[in-house]
Amino acid sequence: MLTSLEQSAFSTWLLSSNSIWAYPTVLTLHTFGMMVLVGAALMIDLRLLGFGRGIPLQSMDRLFRVMWVAFALNAVTGTMLFVADASKRAPSLIFWTKLAFVAVGLVMAVMIRRRNFESGAEPVVISGAAKRLAIVSLLAWSAAITAGRLLAYVA
């Protein structure tokens, strides 16, 4: 099934098309999505950890929307990249590790939003629990990037 994915018309187009609009574009969009998604997450994490304390927490709420749009972009481009190389990626431990870390990052974002933003009230003091979520989020996204980069080097 994996080889049939790889040999599909889509995959062949993606990998062998000389057009600048194929594989390099998908890869660039994926990199862009990562930069936006992780960038936004890091800003929320930094604020929760006490940096930029003049910024009202609630004013950062829109960054979550930014994160979801960027994630959607990366889910689509990521699937395309996976399809093009399915038989190599599917059995790769480091690939699934990356997805696991991405999942952790997303869960952290959901939890942070639910507990600190949904009420709409500005907290007087950021709770220890929120700070812990921020640290886990920061580490998870860094680990996801690390695993993603290591895909090119490790089976």
Partner: protein, 46 residues
Amino acid sequence: MPLTLTVALIVLAVIVIVAIVGYWIDEAEEPLERGERTTDDRHHRV
């Protein structure tokens, strides 16, 4: 040491360094409460 572990440890070290330097720079900063600049203060600007 396996490649993955080496990369991960160095990345972690860099994160810690950035956090420490960032904290140090931020803490040396005056609290915003004392100095939120408005147009009234602009004649103080250098």
